[in-house]
Amino acid sequence: MAQNLDQIFVLLTGWMVSYLPEWLRPYGVAVLGVVGVLAVYVTLFALTTWFERKGLGRMQNRYGPNRCGPFGLFQPVADGIKALTKEDLVPRSADQVVHFLAPLVLLIVICMGLAILPVGRNMVLVDMDAGLLFFFALGASTELSVFMAGWSSRNKFSLLGAMRAIAQMISYEVPLLLSAISAVMIAGTLSLPKIVEAQAGFSGILPHWYVFTPWGFAGAVIFGIAAKAETNRCPFDLPEGESELVAGYFTEYSGFKFAIFFIAEYLGMFSISSVSVTLFFGGWGAPLSFLTFIPSWIWFFAKVLTIIFVFIWVRATLPRLRQDQLMNFAWKFLLPLSLINLGVTALWRFMGDGWQRWIVCAAIVIVSYIVLGLWGMRRQHVAPRKYSYAD
């Protein structure tokens, strides 16, 4: 029974497809899978917008939305209707074609990223040999669409927002990749389902997730921070800082195109949290050995939503960084730490089983964290700035 429930979507797809003629079946599977994944993630998006506003409200001692339906649950529907009925304005001096293409490219690229996520046992749309690389390749392509949006609007706010976004995404992509590589080094593969399998199994009742190792913990934290920066979420939301840039690179978008940017931001957040769940939190595996009877896909989405909750929590807590703080943090703290972490991962791999490696690896990670932290927080001499060219 538990087995069937676990595989219910796989069985359902098989059953539905069996009514199709033989040659249509692969296409049927593909269409059903795509529709299913998109439906699930878009529903999740709607729920998350509600959840985020509720959570932010509660963390600031407010109620949050409570007018549309019970507990304000229909708020996303109202928002959707509003976005659909608004006028779609395009600035007259904008580059019409590029302005139109930018949100489309962004949405397509982000949706492609959803295809490789293993959402449950035997539940992955495309199992690629280099799935993780595919994910990062797509992440790189979103930068281009952000630039397209910012440049084509012919607006200083948009352009500045796009420049900030690209600079930030490039900087944080380095620690993101480096921290992901440590999981790849241990699992020995770039395929996401295989990385999940590598974390299967329990010792006692505790799972073998990578986050429960010194390097994995550091990697998960670095990955999480970099993921927040990649998705332009607070406290890394400089590209769309309302107090400085109106809305950053999508200032000149309205109506449904604005909604597309909004959806793309959230879907990007889901996909990057799904990847971090896959890399460090055991993917669809149960957290304790006696909980395996609960279907794998429930575990996966529970973990993703937990990570999203942490995102919201951090957003409610921290103020926005300044541009130089942002860059210093990426290049002077995260990058060295993730490089050291890479070395620690290699050490972990070659020290063999045993308790020594725990002590050594944990010690290196903690010491480097403290040293880098102290070095980064040391009192800096602040003097009036000298301009080389301006005077």
Partner: protein, 166 residues
């Protein structure tokens, strides 16, 4: 040759031509990015996943962005007079054709594209990694050294302000 190949080839060639012929520099850069993407998809349709993704990651994520940044940071105003195509499109086309001729000549001369090669070599990511770390480790390290030197040089060029003046 499947329809997919023709579609991707059309995208790639159209992107390349547009990159050479269009008037606005940013349009050219975006067209070049489209050509890069088409090329990456061509790699993928040939089952060369690693090469395809790296093409995406490096060319779309780094090279295209670099070009775009360079354009934005160096010229502030663009000529507004009309016309879709650049005035010097012919020169651009000639340069592109010359480069194409050289590369095509080199490809045709090299022996590895014999049409009678039947068995498709399968190279997994692991194979590529092993090859890079084994047989090609020296070139890899030399490239790494070169890039490090270039990065340090760039930092020094950018670090114009002298410490003592602060």
């Amino acid at each position: 040759m499947s329809p997919v190949f023709y579609l991707l080839a059309a995208i790639t060639i159209a992107g390349g031509l547009a990159a050479v012929l269009l008037k606005k520099l940013v349009h050219c850069a975006l067209a070049a990015a489209a050509a890069f993407a088409g090329l990456a998809l061509l790699f993928l349709s040939l089952d060369a996943q690693f090469a395809g993704f790296v093409q995406f990651l490096v060319y779309l994520g780094a090279v295209a962005i670099l070009i775009v940044f360079a354009i934005l940071l160096t010229r502030n105003a663009e000529e507004q007079d009309g016309g879709l195509f650049s005035r010097t499109w012919f020169a651009g086309l000639v340069v592109a054709a010359a480069v194409f001729a050289v590369i095509g000549w080199a490809v045709l001369r090299s022996g590895s594209v014999l049409p009678n090669q039947l068995a498709v070599p399968t190279a997994t990511v692991r194979d590529i990694g092993v090859a890079l770390m084994g047989r090609y480790v020296l070139p890899l390290e030399i490239v790494a050294l070169l890039l490090t030197a270039a990065t340090i040089g760039a930092v020094i060029v950018a670090m114009h302000e002298k410490e003592g003046e602060q």
